[in-house]
Assembly symmetry: C2
């Protein structure tokens, strides 16, 4: 098994009918969640934020095709009903059912469809590769590939599936991530770890800069593998989420290349992250990468508008990785060799490293190039 079903105590199933998919995952344990910070949040997010306070989940139900966002009190009642449907079908307390939705904004859930799909899924729940694969497929919208990760922490496992073609992709966009570990960890510690890890992984993916109304990451710890150090768990969860985050960026709508931007030497991690996110989200950097144009001035210009103080005359900028890593700017001097720089823009992954002289802060962000295909995908969506 490649992801969540490898974790002790996790069973999954999924179904996809046209645009409308449903994933069901059963796993009981301590649980934590992080949610979109958009002011316009889907009712299922409002509901889920309340439910997670109990610190425990026994299952998660997630649908694609309809985000149940901007649907007001009816949307909230529908989300509650969706948890009841799952709870009754599974024979568990609906209060312990987690929920997530992704799809078009401003439309109501089809609860008849979800009810029928849910009842079909319950007998299919299995600890199998097929189950985890179907669940990962069920939550896809404009994603081209299912996304999963599995990290072996020696004495324990951490795994996850997720979907997303952007922080928000189109209306049906949204990032949903469902993470599982068999490590024994209390809710409070799990919550802190998930928050820190999300900040360094999912929150550093920028496809188009549009933040969803429905973003959610849920982590459930089944406790089956016994206790592990929080540090070990955090390291493994970070690896897992980093893998999922880069998969989201690489599968950004219309993307042909993954862009990775690392900023070092900032005053602190927050400053470094702000610059890395701004560079990786810049339409001009994204189009230059698409055109394999080593237009490094755009990287520097984007860094300059990140709202972070630094001395531009002392920065260094590198492109590429390993043997193909080349300096473009060295301590404020332009040292670029355009033919070498061009080489760093070939391939499926383009890497920039920007080094400031302000402190020890360091952060990496991931994104993708901006292509005609992004425009096509998003130019006609509702219709």
């Amino acid at each position: 098994m490649k992801s969540i079903c490898a974790v002790e105590g996790v069973e999954a199933a999924g179904i996809k009918e046209g645009k409308y998919g449903l994933a069901l995952i059963r796993a009981a344990g301590s649980a934590a969640g992080v949610f979109t910070s958009n002011r316009v949040r889907a009712p299922c997010i409002e509901l889920m934020e309340r439910k997670i306070l109990s610190g425990r989940l026994e299952a998660v139900i997630a649908n694609s095709g309809c985000a149940n966002a901007y649907t007001g009190s009816r949307g909230y009642a529908d989300a509650e009903q969706m948890c009841i449907i799952a709870g009754e079908a599974l024979g568990i307390d609906p209060a312990s059912v987690g929920i997530a939705s992704t799809g078009v904004i401003g439309r109501y859930l089809n609860l008849d469809l979800i009810g029928r799909q849910c009842r079909e899924l319950v007998p299919l729940l299995a600890k199998s590769e097929e189950g985890e694969e179907q669940a990962a497929h069920a939550i896809m919208t404009t994603d081209l590939a299912p996304k999963h990760a599995l990290i072996d922490g020696k004495k324990f496992l951490v795994a996850g599936i997720c979907k997303g073609s952007g922080m928000i992709a189109p209306n049906m966009g949204t990032m949903l991530a469902f993470l599982y570990t068999d490590a024994a960890v209390e809710t409070g510690a799990l919550r802190d770890i998930l928050r820190r890890v999300s900040r360094r992984t999912f929150n550093r993916v920028v496809v188009d800069g549009d933040m969803s109304t429905n973003d959610i990451a849920l982590c459930t710890a089944t406790q089956e593998a016994g206790s592990v150090s929080e540090r070990q768990l955090e390291t493994a969860l970070e690896s897992c989420c980093r893998s999922l985050a880069t998969q989201i960026a690489a599968d950004g709508e219309g993307a042909t290349k993954l862009i990775e931007v690392t900023v070092r030497g900032a005053m602190n991690e927050e400053d470094a992250a702000a610059i890395a996110r701004t560079v990786v989200g810049s339409p001009l950097v994204k189009t230059a990468v698409y055109g394999e144009d080593p237009n490094w001035g755009r990287v520097v210009a984007a860094a300059g508008r990140a709202g972070v103080a630094f001395d531009p005359s002392r920065i260094s900028l590198w492109a590429g990785e390993g043997q193909d890593r080349h300096a473009l700017v060295n301590c404020g001097s332009i040292v670029v060799d355009l033919s070498q720089a061009k080489k760093t823009m070939k391939g499926k992954k383009v890497v920039f490293e920007l080094i400031l002289e302000e402190g020890e802060g360091e952060a990496t962000a991931w994104g993708c190039d901006l292509t005609e295909e992004y425009v096509r995908i998003n130019g006609r969506y509702t219709t």
Copy 2:
């Protein structure tokens, strides 16, 4: 005359050779400027910010094709030399020569070329339609059309030319605006008026969200028309700059439509502006407008991530203008009629009005749709 040469005391000329243009404008008077807030600023901006402290200009020299940005102390010396070239050719003090540059970042100015072009321009300086037109053309980069405006304040005129396909367009992007009035106004008052007006006009144009290293707006008042009330001047200057700002947005790289977003009922003007700018800059809103897809959920979702507190359940959203103005959301209820909404997306201008229930704050922002052509223009630039 359609713009600056209509103002008493203003003469202009321009030349464009391939990518390399030079504009020369002679007009003596009190002067003020506003500049990019990018941390990475071109040396000519650093120089100009110092020069404008004198509160007086006699001429402006501006080149296109090379931004002279990220060129360090040599770039600063080059910018000073460019002012000396203009001062000597015009027989005026170089300290009173304003300067601006737009074009590729990280390349040095060709001072020989600029010197030759400048000497050719001096005898061509004229108070003529040809002169103002050539100056407006000389500063164009990816712009498809020259941009000019002329406002008749009854007893005085306000006029301007500008270029720009974005807050930053590509490397050769940048917004440059040169504004003239024959009103008699002191430097201090002119500075305050220009700052307020820029905030409500140029700073509310978003093409791609990338802020330039070279943005500049300079205003010179030749005093020839005698004194006017500051309020009258501010109103006229705002009309002039609003006209130029919408021209920039409509001529955004690859644009097929102008997008105008007005936010009313925010807590204050700043909040309204933040939301309007976020909506107009959203890639998902921009692609939906391009596809004439009345995907209003994207407008609401973008508003929600603007960093401004408001109650989503009390907003109203309208699309279109005049007789074709239709409600999409009314006080939190979805009332959209998709076929009517689709009609509001046709035409060269698409208008959204978002009404909050938080206060009296109001602001308008302008942008353009995001098209395959934007990607093509910016995918291959340096080469």
